[in-house]
Symmetry: C2
Subunit: 215 residues, 2 copies
C-alpha cells in the first residue's frame, strides 16, 4: 500500500497520499463510494479542497487507487493462505473474513460497478493473481484431461486460461468456487440473509466443500 521512498519530499508525499486514502475508506465505509468527495476528505484533514490535487489528479484517480489497494489486499490474503497450505473450505473462510472485515471494500470491487468508471490494465492483472491461487487450491492444471461440455464455458482469451492446454475439471471447480463464494457473500453483505437467520459461514462451507482438489 505504501510505496517506500528515500527522498524526504517524496516520502512525505507518500505519507499524505496514504492519509488521504485512509480518510477516503472511512468515508466510503459510512456513506458508500458514490458519496466519496475530495472536498469532504480535505476538510476532514484540515486542508483546503484544492490541496488534494497535489496528490491525486482528481476523483477518478483516487478511486482507482482505492480499487487497486482493495484487490491487492485480497490477493495478499489469498496468497498467504495458500502459502501456508489451505483447503477450499478454509480459503473460502479467509475470503469471507476479508470481506466482512470491511464490507465496503469488498463491494467496491465486486458490488455494483461505479458508473462511468473503467479499471486500468494493471488491476485486472491483480485479479488474475487471485484466480491463479484459486486454480491451484482447486487442483491445479497438471495431469488433467479436458472435459465436455465444460470446455464451452471457458473461452481462451486470457493468459491464465491461455496458458492451460484446455479447460480442465480443476478450472471449472475454481470457477464454481469463485461464483459460489460471490453468491453467498453478495447476499450476506447486502443483508439478504439477516431476516432469515441463515448462518452464512456454514452455508459457504457447505457450498464449496465438494470443490477440493480430490487428491
Amino acid at each position: 500500500m505504501t510505496e517506500t521512498v528515500r527522498n524526504p519530499r517524496e516520502r512525505y508525499r507518500a505519507q499524505v497520499r496514504d492519509e488521504i486514502k485512509r480518510h477516503a475508506w472511512q468515508q466510503i465505509a459510512s456513506t458508500g463510494v458514490t458519496a466519496l468527495s475530495i472536498n469532504a476528505i480535505a476538510k476532514e484533514m484540515g486542508m483546503s479542497g484544492p490541496a488534494l490535487y497535489r496528490y491525486y489528479a482528481g476523483r477518478d484517480e483516487l478511486i482507482t487507487a482505492l480499487i487497486r489497494d482493495a484487490y491487492r489486499s485480497l490477493a495478499d490474503a489469498v496468497r498467504a493462505a495458500h502459502g501456508a497450505g489451505t483447503t477450499v473450505v478454509a480459503l473460502a473462510g479467509v475470503i469471507r473474513r476479508w470481506a466482512l472485515s470491511d464490507p465496503h471494500r469488498y463491494l467496491l470491487i465486486y458490488g455494483t460497478p461505479v458508473p462511468g468508471y473503467h479499471a486500468p490494465e494493471d488491476i485486472t492483472a491483480i485479479s488474475d493473481e487471485i484466480l491463479a491461487v484459486l486454480l491451484q487450491v482447486c487442483g491445479g492444471p497438471a495431469d488433467e484431461a479436458p472435459r465436455t461440455p465444460f470446455d464451452l464455458v471457458l473461452g481462451m482469451n486470457r493468459q491464465w486460461a491461455a496458458a492451460l492446454p484446455a479447460p480442465t475439471p480443476a478450472v471449472h471447480r475454481a470457477l464454481s468456487f469463485w461464483t459460489r463464494v460471490q453468491g453467498v457473500l453478495s447476499l450476506e453483505l447486502a443483508g439478504h440473509f439477516t431476516p432469515m437467520g441463515i448462518d452464512a459461514g456454514l452455508l459457504l462451507a457447505e457450498e464449496v466443500a465438494e470443490l477440493g482438489s480430490e487428491r
Copy 2:
C-alpha cells in the same frame, strides 16, 4: 405496477406516477441509482422540480416504489415460470434473462445497498414470494426428513421457514440455488466475466443442474 382507479383525477395521478417511474428507470439505467434526481426527472418530463412532490413525498419514497416494482416484476416472472412447469435449470435461465433485460433493476435489489436506505415490511414479503417458488421447484417441503448439519444453516425466524417442520434438504437446495444464481449473475453483471470469455449462461446451468427435486 399501475393501480387501477375509476376516479378520473386519481386515474391521472396514477398515470403521472407511472411516467415518473419510467423516467426514473431510464435515469438509473444510464447513471445508476445514486445519480437518481427528482429535478432531472422533472426536467425530462417538461415540468418544474417541485411539481413531482405532488406524486412522491421525496426521493426516498420514489426509490422505495422502484424497489417494490423490481421485486414485483421478478416475483411475477418466477411465478409464471413455475406455473407453466419448470426445471431448476430453466428457472435459473428465466431469472438470468430477467436480470440481463435490465441490469440496473437487478442491481437495485441485489447489488450494493443504497446507503442509508432501509426497505419497508411489504417488500420483504414479495422477496419471500420468490423464495417460496424456489423452494417448490427444488422439491417442496413435503415428505422430507430434517438433516444434519444443514439444520444449523437455517434459523427459524421467518414465516416461510417457520412454516416448515424443520430445515429439509429441499430448503437447502433452494438456498444453494439462490446463492449460486446470485454468484453467477453478480459477477456477470459487474463485468467480471467478459475479459475471461466465460459463457455465463452455460456456467449457471451447470451450477444449478444438480439442485432439482430429484423425483
